[in-house]
């Protein structure tokens, strides 16, 4: 799995995750009331500057926005159609700028650092009988399940190809759901055998 995180000892990696999240939240709130072209262009410039300052690998990640170009073009076109290209340009620039800044945070913050920041926010779930440690376990399970399930899909696809010579596509969905449920039974049994879902609030 390609990680969005870029390992590295940059200045941005050293900043505490909570601080970075706070700045991102503050900028996103400040960016909403403004709609002038100049502040929005400044936002995009800031996003690009952060990527440039983080080195060549980070700069290449700007290309992650490329799949959004058609959608952004349609949005701008709709604004133009309504006779307000200026508003369209500032809206598109705000989206690009905020996505760049958010991506800079994701590139420079490990998932476990993010989890540590989020954990206190999960504490109210305790009232529903769900410990933050159970949430952390569920996160780990998702990350582990993805390659496992992908392999399961590939196996079903191979079997289908061997029988028919064609790719399975959507026909594999039902067997896939049934197989994954079998897998979930095994995993739940293994989890129960190891003491079950964490109940306590602290690690």
């Amino acid at each position: 799995m390609i990680a969005l995180y870029l390992p590295g000892p940059s200045w941005a990696h050293r900043l505490p995750a909570a601080f970075k999240l706070g700045v991102l939240a503050a900028v996103s709130l400040l960016a909403v009331p403004f709609s002038g072209l100049a502040p929005m262009a400044g936002l995009v410039a800031a996003g690009l500057a952060v990527h440039a300052a983080l080195g060549r690998q980070a700069w290449r990640r700007v290309a992650l926005l490329r799949p959004l170009v058609p959608l952004l073009a349609i949005l701008f076109g709709l604004h133009w159609w309504n006779g307000d290209p200026g508003l369209g340009a500032s809206a598109v620039l705000r989206l690009i700028g905020m996505m760049l800044l958010a991506n800079a945070l994701t590139m420079t913050t490990r998932m476990d650092q993010m989890m540590d920041v989020i954990e206190p926010l999960l504490r109210p779930l305790g009232w529903l009988g769900l410990s933050p440690r159970a949430v952390a376990l569920a996160v780990a399970m998702v990350i582990r399940f993805v390659p496992l399930l992908f392999g399961l899909w590939e196996a079903l696809n191979e079997a289908h190809k061997a029988r028919t010579g064609r790719r399975g596509g959507w026909r594999l969905l039902a067997p896939f759901c049934i197989q994954t449920l079998r897998l979930s039974h095994h995993t739940a049994e293994a989890l129960a055998a190891r003491g079950g879902t964490p109940k306590g609030a602290r690690r």
Binding site: L68, M141, W153, W170, A174, L181, G196
Partner: protein, 185 residues
Amino acid sequence: MNDRSLVQVALYAAIFAVLGLLPKFDIPLAGGVPITAQSMGAMLAGVMLGPVRGAAAMLLLLLVVALGAPLLAGGRGGLAVFYGPSVGFIVGWVAAAFVAGAVMRALRTQPVFPAALLAAVLGGIVVLYAFGIAGLAMMTKLSVLDAAKASLIFLPGDTIKAVLVALVAQTVARGFPEALLSRAP
């Protein structure tokens, strides 16, 4: 939430991610137009797991994505997707799965295919588009009507996906009835 529910919630969050990693399906119904399977994941989670676990699976997926995992179609992820124009659709998956699950549960005595189709359409299209269009209008300063027009491009694909989800639910109900947890007593 017991062990089994927790595993199922994590599993459907992962299924959602895997659907985004797969090559596009060629759907004969749509004249062979390739569609991404990912947005089927929210309908599938609701229809298969029921309202609470379905919505929990989508919340868990959003959490893992926000933490920085590239689990959305095309390897997208991280906080950037929450600042993109389609954030309404992304947040709407939670409500979509909940409503699809609730409809499935309410119609649990009805035949599977029509019940699942109605659940997928109400949750995965009506509710999802309400969130998605509101989000699009908010993020882009477009009027709600224009945002709705821009979202209509996805409607044919999503209609096909609702039919596929209903077909899958029916097949699963026949092959392994236990797997349709939204109908479990």
